[in-house]
Amino acid sequence: MDFSLNEEQLEWQMKARKFAEEEIKPISLARDQIANPADTIDWELIKKGSKIGFRTAVVSKEQGGHGIDYVTQALIMAELARGDSAMSKTFSQCWKWSHLIAAACTDEQRKRFLKPFLDDDTFVLGSGQTEANSGSDNRMPPVGDLKAGPRLRAELDGDFWVLNGEKQFIANGNIAKLFFLTVRTDFSVPFTDGTTSLLVPWDTPGFRRGKCYNKSGWRFYQNGEMIFENARVPVSNQIGETNMALHKGDGDSSGDMFGDLELAANALGICDSACEKAISLARNHSSEGELLKEQQLVRLKIGRMSMLTEALRSYVMRVAWEHDQKIHSTNAGLVMNLSTDTVQEVTELCMDIYDNVGGPMDRGVDKLVRDSFIWSHLAGDSVQRLKVAGRIIK
């Protein structure tokens, strides 16, 4: 048992903390308040973060990245999210697919796609999975139903896949330069046996970006529509075998499993920020000559916020370590579920404490609560919980 961090981990943590403090926090609220959702991104911030290495952090050292382990990834995500959850997610969204490049791409593909990614500080990655009736918004597909699953059609035409259809709610959809796209390549079988993965650059002919979704929280982190009209993607951009995209083993720590840890670590950062804000208010705000912290109800809330946050931190770090050890368990899913409950309760308690100020709610606190609600859908709805429970109980 050892909860300490090694030097490299500590170094990255401090870099992220400094960046969050000096670069993210000062602009966080202003970006959140921009009315047009397509205008919230700040490329200067992305560039600065990229130069420090956050964008490319998980690409292996041999391949030109930094090769940080999962523990370090969790630390960085939490620290950046402490400054702004959506900004942290914009960086870590690139990691998700860096994992996939490392795990599933051929050498030739790696060469072709990694170099531009590494060289361009504004090169962010995305993944096209969700459709109107499929994807992260439709997580409980009936096995064997031919009508279920992705409907974005890909047909072979010589050396090209020809794509027609749409994707929805795609993270970084509006700004990414390369997408990992899930397409339907066989409609005669259930989608589990008829789906293929493709690497799709943003300048693919026949592809265009659609609208940018206007979310109530996580406004910096853009979700967009993707439209394909006879878009032509070379077969050499295909990942893995045809029709086999969903046959990847449950077992590896990349891709989806990273996604669970990612949300939990990000939530931890929001919790840290909420605790920080609440404690600072309790120590400094006085009501009729007495500091808030003298009130038992305020204290009990701060105790509870800290307790929930530290429990989440303990569990997040354990799961990160498990990933590094390639230990496969239900813990990643469980900690993701837990992060939903924790981040929402902790930010709402923070709001409770800010009630003592009166007047309109502090905008920063309001933002924390809005950002946290995103977890309901991404990490803690009943389907997300049933999935994990199913693995426990089987």
Binding site: Q33, A35, P37, T130, N133, S136, D137, N138, R139, M140, P141, P142, D145, A148, F169, Y213, N214, K215, S216, G217, S287, E288, E290, E294, Q295, L297, M351, D352, Y354, D355, N356, G358, G359, P360, M361, R363, D366, V369, F373, I374, S376, H377, D381, S382, V383, L386
Partner: protein, 394 residues
């Protein structure tokens, strides 16, 4: 005799408002164009239409030309209106409840004859109570179970000149209906103590600043009102300084029920058409149980709010021995605020990603129930008031 049947007038007015909401309000209120912008203006045309139904003069007795509604009936109307649009419900409920108290109880004959015809004639005539100032010292907080200081300081001053006119100076903050009112009831301090003055909006020396509609953390209309040498004739003084007759907590709770009901109804509708796992999600135990919990929350909240409303209408009933003597308005507020925020969140969860999109109504419902939960000094203060009542502390 214990009886929960509404009378015919109550049922009739409820059905009327319900139809009006369905036909006139909802189609406008949930239109994406109205939902998406950060600070859509108050829907004045809807407020006017609702006023034409008589909802503005609801609580004025039939003899004087109103509908003679008690607080319970006002709650019923407010809930129905809020199912359509909480802003509309809030403006009308504020005017209606103030008008009843004012014209029925506070104004003298001359004042009533002067003002009532104008009020009844003009459907855009709204009323605002200008009482609150920057710092509220009525919260309990640290003073729980300590002897209370009774002096509630008012910084808005009224001085009588040699002609008997009152000269008002000072600022009232976060005044409901400030931006739509044609008449303010202003609480001011004089050398002889506090008074209430009738101040028409068109008087000189009044300046109304609308509180930022985005982030201002309010429902309906809200503004700061500054009086600079605002001169009011002597006959505009109200004979009584009975601030405690203005009591509409129950009504604001009812608005909250309406908002949560809108969320619930939307969620039920959606759950019947949304397919997951091969069937409508309402057929999943998990979603069914969640919606049941929301339904329970709504029923329980309405039940306790109506009890509080009825008790406000029948203040002698405590001595008749069938109530506990605890502040029922507080009980209704605390319990309904928590239940209804949860109801809105749970409803939104049924929508997946659509629950966080600004052009969809769910995020608005969550935001509004959240504001209700965190209005003024929040639930803790109300709890401590109940605690003092439990302890018999005075």
């Amino acid at each position: 005799m214990y009886n929960l049947n509404l009378n015919e007038e109550q049922i009739a007015i409820r059905d009327t408002v319900c139809d009006f909401v369905k036909n006139e309000i909802t189609p406008v209120a949930v239109h994406p164009d109205r939902l998406e912008p950060f600070d859509p203006p108050l829907p004045s045309e809807l407020i006017d239409k609702a006023a034409e139904l008589g909802l503005r003069a609801l609580s004025i007795s039939e003899e004087l030309g109103g509908a003679g509604a008690d607080i319970l009936t006002c709650c019923i109307v407010a809930e129905e209106l809020a199912v359509g649009d909480a802003d509309v419900a809030s403006v009308l409920a504020e005017t209606a409840s103030l008008a009843g108290v004012l014209f029925e109880k506070l104004l003298n004959k001359e004042q009533r004859e002067r003002l009532l015809p104008v009020f009844l004639e003009d459907n855009q005539y709204h009323i605002a109570l200008a009482n609150s100032e920057a710092k509220s010292d009525t919260w309990i907080g640290n003073n729980y179970h300590r002897s209370k200081t009774t002096s509630s300081q008012i910084n808005t001053k009224a001085i009588q000149d040699k002609n008997g006119n009152w000269l008002i100076n000072g600022t009232k903050t976060r005044i409901s209906n400030a931006t739509v009112a044609k008449l303010f009831v202003v609480q001011a301090d004089t050398e002889e103590g506090q008074i209430l003055l009738l101040v028409p909006t068109k008087s000189n020396g009044i300046k109304v600043n609308e509180v930022d509609r985005d982030g201002g953390w309010y429902i309906g209309s809200c503004g700061d009102v500054t009086f600079t040498d605002c001169m009011i004739p002597a006959e505009n003084i109200i004979d009584s300084n009975a601030m405690d007759v203005f009591q509409n907590i129950g009504i604001s709770c009812a608005i909250n029920v309406g908002v949560a009901r809108a969320a619930f109804e939307t969620a039920v509708e959606y759950s019947k058409i949304r397919i997951q796992g091969g069937g409508p999600i309402i057929e999943h135990q998990a979603i069914g149980a969640k919606l049941a919990e929301v339904a329970i929350g709504l029923e329980v909240a309405r039940t306790i709010i109506w009890r509080a409303a009825w008790t406000s209408d029948n203040k002698t009933s405590i001595s008749e021995g069938n109530l506990t003597g605890l502040p029922l308005n507080n009980i209704a507020h605390i319990s309904s605020a928590e239940m209804l925020y949860k109801a809105a969140k749970d409803s939104a969860e049924c929508f997946g990603a659509m629950g966080v999109m600004r052009d969809m109504p769910l995020q608005k419902f969550i935001h509004q129930t959240r504001m209700f939960l965190h209005r003024s000094s929040g639930n803790d203060d109300s709890k401590l008031q109940i605690a003092e009542a439990v302890a018999g502390f005075e």
